[in-house]
Amino acid sequence: MTMQEFFAMGGYALYVWPAYGLTLIVLLANIIIPVVQRKQFFVNALKKNGKKL
């Protein structure tokens, strides 16, 4: 199988690849969002602590 044949997906590339692409985006977002939120939590908590001191 050549690379072109693989990416053509027997003529169904327009259906198969968007399905995989969207899945990747949604799954990545579900990891990135909480990691960013956690970083944010520590930044905010430190700021608050600074005001108290």
Binding site: M1, F6, M9, G10, G11, Y12, Y15, V16, P18, A19, Y20, L22, T23, V26, L27, A29, N30, I31, P34, V35, Q37, R38, K39, F41, F42, A45, L46, N49
Partner: protein
């Protein structure tokens, strides 16, 4: 409880303590990510490259390797959410409440993926993006149940009260789970019947079945990773006034 070995009991007891959970999951995470990447690589290689095209559906069927595992996860996560919610409701275990609410966005995501990839598969095979048949409609209701859980939790300020409300909603919504599973048998639908979870031999060739099961495993590990990430944030926010979180903030640990 006499059936549970002592060490296992101790493990769960310690896990229910927020600082232990936080520290333990930090050490666990790299291992989970490695296992997830290996399973996904093997599953995708088997499914997209090694497995032959379907004799009826050509290469379009390859959507199955994300569609079916996502649909399974959408049901599995809902059950986990409802059970964790019930445990939180009865025994007031904080970590169980956090498992329940942290599962909701991930379950909603898998439900959305199942619907979306199903639509992309339905268009070339059925000639339509969407039909209001039993399987598709009950899965859409599942998405609304997840969104309802997320919305209800966000609407109540006291998070312990919010967890109670969410647990009850999740438990009531359990009614939908068998409906989704049996919808293709109870009603005449456009959606095909089960090919893997049948009592007799699955009607899918082993070269297609193995990558499918690998992807299902991979999505399970993914859920574990994603739910732990969400739980850690939820835990920090709920426990922001407790000593262990304050110490971590001051030591600038993340």
């Amino acid at each position: 409880m006499f059936l549970v070995p002592d060490s296992v009991g101790r493990f769960f007891h310690r896990m229910a303590s927020p600082p232990h959970f936080y520290a333990f999951t930090e050490r666990l995470m790299p291992w989970l990510v490695v296992i997830f990447l290996l399973l996904t690589a093997a599953g995708l290689y088997g499914g997209l490259y090694l497995a032959p095209a379907d004799y009826q559906q050509g290469d379009s069927y390859r959507i199955i390797y994300i569609h079916v595992p996502s649909a399974w996860m959408s049901l599995f996560i809902y059950v986990v959410m409802a059970i964790a919610g019930a445990i939180g409701l009865v025994w007031r275990i904080k970590l169980a409440e956090i498992v329940a609410i942290s599962s909701a966005p991930i379950g909603a995501s898998f439900t959305f993926i199942a619907l979306f990839t199903g639509s992309l598969w339905g268009k070339p095979m059925w000639g339509t993006w969407w039909v209001w048949d039993a399987r598709l409609t009950s899965e859409l209701i599942l998405l609304f149940l997840y969104l309802g859980v997320i919305g209800l939790y966000g609407a109540i300020d006291d998070k312990r009260v919010a967890s109670k409300a969410v647990a009850i909603l999740a438990l009531v919504g359990m009614v939908n789970i068998p409906i989704i599973h049996y919808s293709v048998e109870w009603w005449n639908t456009l959606h095909q019947g089960p090919t893997v979870t049948k009592m007799d031999k699955p009607s899918i060739h082993v070269s297609m079945l193995i990558p499918l099961l690998l992807m299902a495993l991979s999505f399970n590990v993914y859920y574990l990773i994603a739910v732990i990430q969400r739980m850690r944030v939820e835990l920090l926010q709920r426990e922001r006034n407790s000593q262990w979180v304050k110490t971590m903030v001051l030591e600038n640990k993340q």
